[in-house]
């Protein structure tokens, strides 16, 4: 295991035992700071959206033109920039750590940072100019300024540069180590990025071939439904691109952080392989109510959605096993004693434990959404934001914050500022989101639409008042928690005097059942990718054929 001493700001000046080199550390570090910038901007909008429900207008709150302008900023910064830049940053670091060698290309690593920055800045400018109030899903025929789509291209290209770099590093490592198992950490980042590489083809096709030329005026009309099919080709798998970096932390770092070992190498590899294979052929579950798509294909995607739930169940098992053994090793007794024996005093651990607890509800509500007939009840209601603030808004976001509590000290060499505040931050977020989502979920069941300025709605149904108050109270609590998070991070970077004790990335030792017991086929990345492509073709070719011929008949509209 490479030991790297990050005791000072200057740690990464010059080569550190040839693995963590300075030219590669700064892009990782600055990409991590983009995570925080995106969270700050998006979180501010989120606070506005929550307050809108109890009478504070978005126009007066943030000086915006409309509620939808704010919501577009919220969605783009949080669902795209926040998650992507974190994935790039953490996965690059863990790839280096996993293969025990620098990334193959320093240029790609730096390029990934610069394109992410370009995408964020360009997107922010266009959104703030109210030229792209199309929400983060940018459904046509709503037509934004072409520069907005260009910003989206930058964001995706940034992840592709990281993907190329991870694959290249893998190939180099493989050339030097022809017979070895892929180190587990590197295996998880590699499969995550290959999955995303395949998944992002949908959105790339949509933007490059249809939306961008149309918004540039090269084509007059577009086919909104075809665009939606391509969008949702990416749109479900994207949630795993958000989630898997959190899973990577749960599998690879949490066991070490609680003083335990991961249960099984093979089970972990299998989980990530299942995500690689089944994340994408599920996208139609976002289009159950869409016309023009065969019900058979919708049903096939429905079944596959339940298939992709399975690796999350394995994850629940593996992580809980590791946590229990950690808790028992720390002296926890009895049926539940190990839970209390976990290192709850460590803010990084506690935030992630809470993220997991909240995620159980996120999974349950996700199964509700995925069930075609039940989906009709909740589709496009506030139930959906209720669901995904438990998943991406907490399981992922709170894990990112928890990881930051070692990542930032590790990268900056500074001791974590005010760990007590950091602890409070995690709890506030968890309790806040439980309240917030309770409000949104019950509102949704009372037919409250999502993506609606409820405070200005023409009418209100019974039950909405409670829903609005819970949403507002929960949302404010989350915002307070977010503010504490910034205090801790900014404090760590600028006020913290002492050097950190964190000198090592908390990646666990070999699992209880190590790589020798795990199936060698899992490492056949190339073959697995081919299988994934075949599954995608099975799931999407008939969908497209049954949909075609396309009807390019919609002119662009600007509804804001």
């Amino acid at each position: 295991m490479s030991s790297i001493a990050a005791t000072q700001e200057t740690t990464f000046e010059g080569a550190q035992d040839g693995v963590f080199v300075a030219e590669q550390m700064w892009p990782i570090r600055y990409q991590l700071y983009l995570v925080f910038v995106a969270l700050a901007v998006g979180g501010w909008m989120g606070l506005g959206q929550a307050l809108e429900r109890v009478g504070v207008s978005m126009e007066s709150f943030a000086g915006l033109e409309s509620y939808y302008q704010g919501l577009s900023i919220h969605g783009v910064t949080l669902a795209l920039v926040f998650t992507f830049s974190f994935a790039n940053s953490l996965c690059s670091l863990l790839t280096i750590r996993g293969f025990g060698r620098p990334m193959a290309s320093t240029m790609l690593l730096q390029g990934s940072f610069w394109t992410m920055l370009a995408g964020l800045v360009l997107g922010a400018i266009i959104l703030l100019m109210n030229q792209a109030t199309v929400l983060f899903t940018f459904y046509t025929p709503m037509e934004a300024n072409p520069l907005f789509y260009l910003a989206a291209v930058f964001l995706v290209v940034s992840t592709w540069l990281t993907l190329a770099n991870i694959i290249w590093t893998y190939r180099q490592w493989r050339a030097d180590n022809p017979d070895e198992r892929i180190p587990l950490v590197a295996f998880t980042t590699l499969t995550t990025y290959i999955m995303w590489g395949l998944a992002s083809i949908g959105i790339a096709v949509e933007v490059v071939f249809f939306v961008l030329p149309w918004s540039l005026g090269i084509w007059d009309n577009t086919d909104p439904q075809l665009n939606r099919i391509f969008f949702w080709f990416t749109g479900h798998a994207i949630v795993y691109f958000w989630l898997l970096p959190a899973y990577i932390s749960w599998y690879m770092c949490m066991p070490k952080q609680v003083g335990a070992r991961l249960f099984s190498d093979g089970l972990t590899r299998m989980t990530f392989v299942l995500f690689l294979l089944f994340s994408i052929p599920t996208g139609l579950h976002h289009q159950y109510t869409d016309p023009g798509i065969s019900a058979t294909m919708k049903s096939i995607h429905l079944v596959l959605t339940f298939v992709i739930f399975f690796p999350s169940l394995i994850t629940a098992f593996s992580i809980m096993a590791a946590l229990e053994s950690g808790g028992r090793a720390r002296g926890g007794k009895g049926l539940f004693g190990w839970i209390f024996a976990l290192p709850w005093g460590n803010p990084s651990v506690s935030a992630q434990l809470l993220a997991m607890l909240v995620f159980t509800l996120g999974g349950a509500t996700g199964l509700i959404n995925a069930s075609m007939t039940v989906n009709l009840v909740v589709h496009n209601t506030a139930f959906i934001p209720g669901h995904f603030h438990l998943t991406v808004g907490t399981a992922v976001a709170l894990t990112i914050m928890g990881v930051s509590y070692w990542f930032v000290p590790f990268m900056s060499g500074k001791k974590l500022f005010q760990p007590k505040l950091a602890l409070a931050q995690g709890w506030l977020w968890a309790l806040g989101v439980l309240t917030f989502s309770r409000g949104q979920i019950s509102g949704g069941l009372e037919a409250m639409p999502r993506r609606t300025a409820i405070g200005e709605a023409a009418y209100e149904l019974p039950g909405w008042e409670l829903s609005n108050w819970l949403t507002a109270i929960g949302g404010v609590t989350m915002a307070v928690s977010g503010a504490l998070f910034f205090l801790v991070i900014v404090g760590t970077l600028f006020l913290s005097k002492e050097p950190t004790e964190i000198t090592e990335i908390p990646v666990g030792d070999e699992p209880v059942h190590g790589p020798k017991e795990s199936w060698a086929f899992f490492d056949r990345i190339g073959q697995l990718t081919v299988i994934a492509v075949v599954l995608i073709i099975f799931a999407y070719l008939p969908t497209l054929i049954s949909y075609l011929p396309a009807t390019f008949e919609s002119p662009g509209v600007k509804v804001w």
Binding site: F340, W344, A430, L431, T435, R438, E446, Y459, L461, G463
Partner: protein
């Protein structure tokens, strides 16, 4: 973190989780604004229309138009919904959004149906759709409204 603090925090978490989310399903059977008022109104309206003598045929015809086209927004039991209730509407004095008042006579009712935005009842949104009903239909609706005292 002390063990007591942890117990308390996890306890709060569990309480929010269990009580918050098990009570999520709308369990109250109180009438929800839109659908459930209709049957009740139908029964009540029917009885009274019976007592109304001559106008009963017209009131019944008015009620069927009400059931089909108006019940989504108007109640007959005195509670306001998306639109104002019809109970006690006829002859009452109505405050308008522009600050003036008007008596709800036949003329006002007719205008409210044919040009809902012309005079907007204070405190309500001007969202009522235009209904192109003929004079007979409007007469039946008024008879039905009169039966709702």
């Amino acid at each position: 973190m002390s063990r007591t603090t942890l117990f308390v925090l996890l306890g709060i978490f569990a309480v929010v989780l269990i009580f918050g989310y098990t009570a999520v399903i709308p369990t109250n059977n109180e009438p929800r604004a839109v659908p459930t008022n209709t049957p009740g109104a139908a029964a009540g309206g029917g009885d009274e229309a019976g007592e109304g003598g001559d106008s009963s045929g017209a009131a019944a015809a008015g009620q069927s138009i009400y059931d089909a086209q108006c019940a989504a927004c108007h109640t007959t039991d005195g509670s306001d919904s998306i639109g104002p209730t019809w109970q006690g509407l006829i002859g009452s004095e109505i405050a308008l959004a522009d600050g003036s008042t008007v008596v709800a006579d036949e003329e006002y009712i007719t205008e409210s149906i044919r040009q809902p935005a012309a005079k907007v009842h204070d405190g309500f949104q001007p969202i009522m759709p235009v209904f192109e009903l003929n004079d007979d239909d409007i007469a039946s609706l008024i008879a039905f409204m009169q039966s709702l005292e």
